[in-house]
């Protein structure tokens, strides 16, 4: 593997695990959050549109924590990921 590409762990909420073969945690390669989501989309196409719209925009009410910090407080999809980073996907507050 290219030494520059990080391998990260992505944690999925229970409501989305059915779209990822039941996995609660998936290991993917990618050096930014966007690249990790691209890799996830390739492996689990049904998961992709729940996380991003067709423009590639992050769904507003889905939070992506990168090592404990929500990605919108970092650099959004361009947030760099260290090797071994933890990404956690958590549905935000919406609805009524």
């Amino acid at each position: 593997m290219d030494a520059a590409v990080s391998t990260v762990s992505v944690g999925l909420p229970s409501v989305l695990r059915g779209l990822a073969e039941g996995n609660s945690r998936v290991e993917v390669a990618g050096s930014t959050l966007g690249a990790v989501l691209d890799a996830l989309a390739e492996r689990y196409p049904g998961l992709e549109r729940r996380l991003r719209d067709e423009r590639g925009g992050l769904r507003r009410y889905v939070n992506f924590y990168v090592d404990g910090e929500e990605c919108r407080r970092l650099d959004g999809p361009a947030t760099p990921l260290r090797d071994g980073a933890e990404v956690v996907v958590i549905p935000s507050v919406a609805g009524g």
Binding site: R49, R50, R59, Y61, V62, A94
Partner: protein, 360 residues
């Protein structure tokens, strides 16, 4: 004979079934917490195919289908309705399913205002670019519920002809299968424009349009203020509001077979969106809008401070026709006899966004 009534709400889908259309067995919710903004029942198939527009506030919009009357649902991995990359747009929701004369062709009306076409029975859809690329598009503004194309009326016999309606924008028509479109709002007044500019070529906030079963050129329209009829396929419109207690409202439903029979649900006004005096009444005309009759047997006589949204009224395809409506306060009523008498199907549901019914 068994009838299926599908009820889409702000927090999921309920299904009701009945053999006499008086006593209903209600099940649900399915798709809990999702907006079910539109339902389609494709009765061209031996077992009708159900389609539902499901909008999850976290995970976005999708369209699901069922070939077992709602027992199970499926959807493709790839988004069944999505804007192509070059448009720079993202789907916010699906507001309408419509079935044309060609087998397996299904249309959806979408938000932001766009029309999509399926050639595979509603599994996957493609953007109708002729309408998307219309030079007026940049001037279509969101109505109160969003910038939506909420009404799709394929001509029942001629696949080249179709009308759509949007809020705002108004009615547009094509006669070449969707390649080119023209606004079709002559005579429809815009109450939110200043004097002298009340009859624009387009920009109307049309709420719903229905087509007469005997003559596709005869159409009925509930506007954001004003009720109209066209005798020329939508080219011109004239008021049929006289005889109604109010000309505001959302739904407009045509009888499935009887010419000139239509239903609506008047609300006092834009600033008073309740039925007049809080009386829950469906209005029916049996002469294309010349005269109207209030129908209330079995409905609340007062204290009904609710409303019925544009797709929350429908008719089934039985004889006599059943008529149905659901309210923003989560009540659903059914009439087994064309509106003469009403029975409550359900109460205490979330806001009802849409109802659709068919014999199964």
């Amino acid at each position: 004979m068994e009838t299926l009534l599908a009820i889409g709400t702000r927090k999921g889908l309920w299904l009701a079934r009945s053999r006499d259309r008086r006593r209903w067995e209600v099940s649900g919710p399915q798709f809990p917490v999702a907006d079910v903004k539109a339902i389609g029942i494709d009765t061209r198939r031996a077992t009708p195919r159900l389609s539902a527009s499901v909008l999850n506030s976290h995970f976005g919009p999708t369209v699901v289908t069922s070939d077992d009357l709602g027992a199970t649902w499926s959807e493709p991995d790839d988004a069944p309705v999505a804007f192509p990359g070059d448009t720079g747009a993202a789907l916010e929701g699906v507001w309408q399913f419509a079935y044309g004369p060609e087998p397996d062709v299904v249309y959806v009306g979408a938000e932001p205002s766009a029309l999509f076409r399926s050639d595979d029975g509603g599994r996957s859809y493609e953007l109708v670019r002729g309408l998307w690329e219309h030079p007026h598009r940049e001037h279509w503004e969101p109505g109160g519920g969003g910038k939506a194309l909420h009404t799709v009326l394929p001509h029942p016999h001629d696949a080249r002809r179709m009308s759509v309606a949007m809020s705002t924008g108004g009615v547009y028509r094509t006669e070449d299968g969707g390649a080119t479109w023209n606004p079709s709002n002559t005579g429809i007044r815009v109450e939110f424009m200043p004097e002298g500019q009340e009859f624009p070529e387009y920009g109307q906030c049309v709420h719903k349009v229905a087509v007469d079963p005997s003559d596709p050129d005869r159409q009925y329209l509930q506007n954001h203020g004003g009720v109209y009829r066209s005798e020329d396929g939508g080219a011109t419109w004239r008021s049929i509001a006289e005889g109604l207690p109010a000309d505001f409202g959302f739904p407009m439903v045509a009888h499935p077979r009887r010419p000139e029979v239509i239903y609506n649900f008047p609300l006092d006004s834009s600033m008073m969106r309740f039925p007049p005096a809080g009386r829950c009444r469906v209005y029916r005309s049996e002469d294309a809008g010349a005269m109207w009759t209030g129908l209330s047997k079995g409905l609340p006589e007062g204290g009904f401070w609710s409303a019925v949204m544009r797709d929350s009224m429908c008719a089934d395809d039985a004889d006599p026709a059943g008529v149905y409506f659901g309210s923003r306060s989560g009540e659903v009523w059914a009439s087994p006899d064309e509106g003469e008498t009403w029975n409550q199907v359900a109460a205490h549901l979330p806001d009802v966004f849409c109802v659709r019914a068919a014999v199964i």
